[in-house]
Symmetry: C2
Subunit: 310 residues, 2 copies
């Protein structure tokens, strides 16, 4: 694939997958676009050029690759291997905070070692989506002097690869995880105490995603609380957290800085894009989403949260 | 008790009780001050004069009555009957959102029929704390033309006194309940749909308390989301919701209006006072709390939630 170097670009490494999703409310979506890096890259592409590092099989739909490219997502770091793309099948409970994995096949991801194209190695913004910490570290080894590195992880790695994860966290200034992961990683139920323990492991900033309850952001001694956009119906929560992270990192890469004010705006933009993602199965809502839609809902967040300061 | 009429006063009716509380973290507090109207009245008294309607036994501590009076809480509507004050014993789980009632004695509250002193009947602001809907209605029958009536309720009344509750709700413009009660009352898990169904029963405004996740406020087509103040330790959550309601109604009574802007400020003030309440057992933290402490934490709420609007 053609290599294009873009200023202010954002590198993301993670899974690109084909999902099958069942919900109590919305039925079933079979063999649809999924994967953490996919959601992240598409969300970030509303703000900035993205460089996607991952692997797909030769069964991966060509029209989706074309859609990525059309969105400004560089695919020179996306390997296409003979075999099947990663598959995940999940079923959500009526309480959509709970889901069961019905099946998982790593397929071509099995044994994958991410290698960055040379042009990606001086990327200023890097996001390590949820894959094994050793693979996240391998990507970090390849980037020269990024301005901001963000990472996600999951319960599995906290359980089975804690030493590698702790090693990685010493090199990750911004960790973006959900509340369940924060509790497991810290051993603390209270989010303030959890945040303090996690930040003692390395990250100077921490975003804790709480689903319908929004996001808590910790940096130094400051806390920022952003609500989730109140939705009448969550159709499919898959990828909400990855979309959030994509919006955050995409906005920061476009702004070219990670000041306190920019990070707060980035969190609201991330929340906005995530609120659209869950309105339909898979990435369907993002296919028709416009930057104007995003700006409109950003303004709704302002009215959702504002009160007189004195 | 001496009757004093105060302009802009706020009438509250509800339980005044003696609690025994156990927590996993903080041990046990035996025979301490409690009751929804107690928490409400003390919280509201930081903002406005309060007129307390309820009943206690002759065992109720005189020093607590003196403390109420010193805080500007008028007690001419508080009956003192021969017998024991209402008693409640509860135990919180490690997850403090869950608690068990170990024992409950209505005692002098049994058969109590609230009667308002004449001076209370033209109160502009009235709050019906959580008691049987028929008793709440009886209070409402006695006030002449209040500017704002707020009410709380609980799962018990939704289950066993739904017709009376629905009758009451047609006369209550502001309902303040928690998320569990909102789900039970509406039959909806989603808070937007729950709010719509509840507002169809009468209230034009609805505040849904979500504990550590803050408050959602619905009025007409607008939604306001306020976070909870992030606390490192919740010592005793008893009365947090009643304190919140007291702060809200107290601020509005003092402001003398219920405009959209005032209600948003009132919600933040309510959240602030509630955040102090849970820092110690019973109402202990409120005994030393000052208006300056409240203003300081209000400003912290501003910094907790603010982001650039464009």
């Amino acid at each position: 694939m053609a290599e294009t170097k873009k200023a202010g670009a954002l590198v993301v490494v993670g899974s690109v997958a084909i999902d099958t999703i069942e919900t109590e409310q919305g039925g079933r979506a079979t063999e649809v676009l999924g994967g953490a890096a996919t959601y992240f890259a598409v969300a970030a592409s509303f703000f900035t050029p993205v460089q996607l590092v991952g692997v797909v099989g030769d069964d991966f739909p060509k029209q989706d690759l074309d859609w990525f490219r059309a969105r400004g997502i560089d695919l020179s770091g996306l390997e296409v291997r003979t075999g099947r793309t990663m598959r995940w099948t999940g079923r959500y409970h009526e309480d959509m905070n709970v889901r069961d994995t019905l099946s998982f096949e790593a397929n071509v991801f099995d044994g994958y070692m991410p290698t960055l194209p040379a042009a990606y190695c001086d990327a200023p913004f890097v996001f390590l989506a949820n894959i094994a910490p050793a693979l996240q570290a391998r990507v970090l080894d390849q980037v020269k002097s990024p301005r901001l590195v963000g990472a996600d992880t999951m319960n599995l790695w906290i359980d089975i690869a804690r030493p590698e994860l702790e090693q990685l966290l010493r090199r990750v200034p911004l960790l973006i995880i959900n509340d369940e992961e924060a509790r497991l990683l810290s051993g603390e139920r209270n989010m303030i105490r959890a945040a303090r323990k996690i930040m003692a492991l390395g990250p100077t900033s921490l975003m804790i995603k709480r689903g319908e309850y929004g996001v808590l952001y910790f940096s130094g001694d400051t806390v920022f609380s952003a609500p989730a956009y109140p939705l009448e119906e969550v159709f499919d929560p898959t990828g909400a957290g990855d979309t959030f992270a994509g919006g955050v990192m995409g906005y920061l890469a476009a702004a070219g800085d990670a000041s306190a004010a920019s990070v707060r705006k980035a969190i609201v933009y991330g929340s906005v894009v995530a609120s659209f993602t869950v309105e339909a199965f898979s990435l369907e809502r993002l296919r028709t989403l416009t930057r104007d839609d995003i700006e409109r809902r950003y303004r709704e967040f302002v009215s959702l949260t504002s009160f007189d300061v004195g």
